[in-house]
């Protein structure tokens, strides 16, 4: 697994992921709006949701965004525990924010004529998008926030010394 030490590279990767998720959700939305009713539509819906579920499962087992900045360790040290706690708290706030926004939209649509009421297809799109975004949220937050990493001890010595000065120096 490649560890991306540069924060800008990690942020670019996260941006690409999330833009991709949004396009995928829009594609699903288009699929729902074009399909008809009856058994073919039902089978199509089931395939879309099962396909998304299997895809997410595969990605979560093989490709974790948090590994681009935190090495796979069996035991987290004190800094990593702090990072995890902050990340989970931030994820919680984002999820609550999404739910409040949806609640606001449905309430506004109920009472205000110029606000469009969400249809069943809208909810399907929102559910797909939320599923994709929220699944990767903690990993994405860690990868987004972690500063540029110190070089790995497995890297060649010359690369390490170029990237970072030696630990102990007699004079500066």
């Amino acid at each position: 697994m490649t560890i991306l030490t540069s924060r800008s590279a990690r942020r670019l990767l996260i941006g690409v992921h999330y833009v991709g998720f949004t396009f995928f959700a829009l594609f699903v939305s288009g699929f729902f709006s074009m399909r008809g009713n009856g058994w073919p539509a039902f089978v199509g819906d089931v395939l879309i949701f099962f396909g998304t579920g299997i895809w997410l499962l595969w990605i979560s087992r093989n490709y974790k965004l948090d590994r681009v900045c935190l090495p796979r360790t069996t035991k987290l040290d004190e800094r990593q525990v702090q990072v995890r706690a902050r990340t989970l708290a931030a994820s919680y706030f984002v999820v609550v924010g999404i739910f409040i926004a949806l609640l606001f939209w449905t309430t506004a649509a109920k009472h205000l004529s110029f606000v469009r009421r969400p249809s069943g297809d809208d909810w399907s799109t929102i559910a797909t998008l939320c599923l994709l975004l929220i699944s990767f949220l903690p990993s994405a937050i860690v990868a987004w926030n972690e500063p540029d990493l110190p070089p790995s001890p497995e890297e060649p010595k010359e690369t390490r010394e170029q990237a970072s000065p030696p630990l102990m120096r007699p004079f500066r």
Binding site: D77, R79, Q80, L149, P150, L167, R169, F171, R172
Partner: protein, 68 residues
């Protein structure tokens, strides 16, 4: 001593040692004491709330020089 060796001795990830060096992370008292034991130095010689004076200046001063 490499980061990896120091990290193993104090029981943290090597990246945490890197963040400590760069001042991106403030250690717990427990970790600070462990580092102090490894280096055999008092805490105030390893950590400070103010930036440390370069060793070259301290060396010159100890030799009686008034200016670096």
């Amino acid at each position: 001593m490499s980061r990896q060796e120091l990290a193993l001795q104090v029981g943290v990830n090597y990246q945490t040692i890197g963040y400590l060096e760069r001042g991106d992370y403030a250690p717990s008292l427990e970790l600070a004491f462990r580092l102090s034991e490894v280096f055999g130095l008092p805490l105030e010689m390893i950590f400070s709330r103010e930036p440390f004076e370069p060793l070259s200046l301290a060396h010159l001063r100890s030799n009686g020089a008034t200016k670096p």
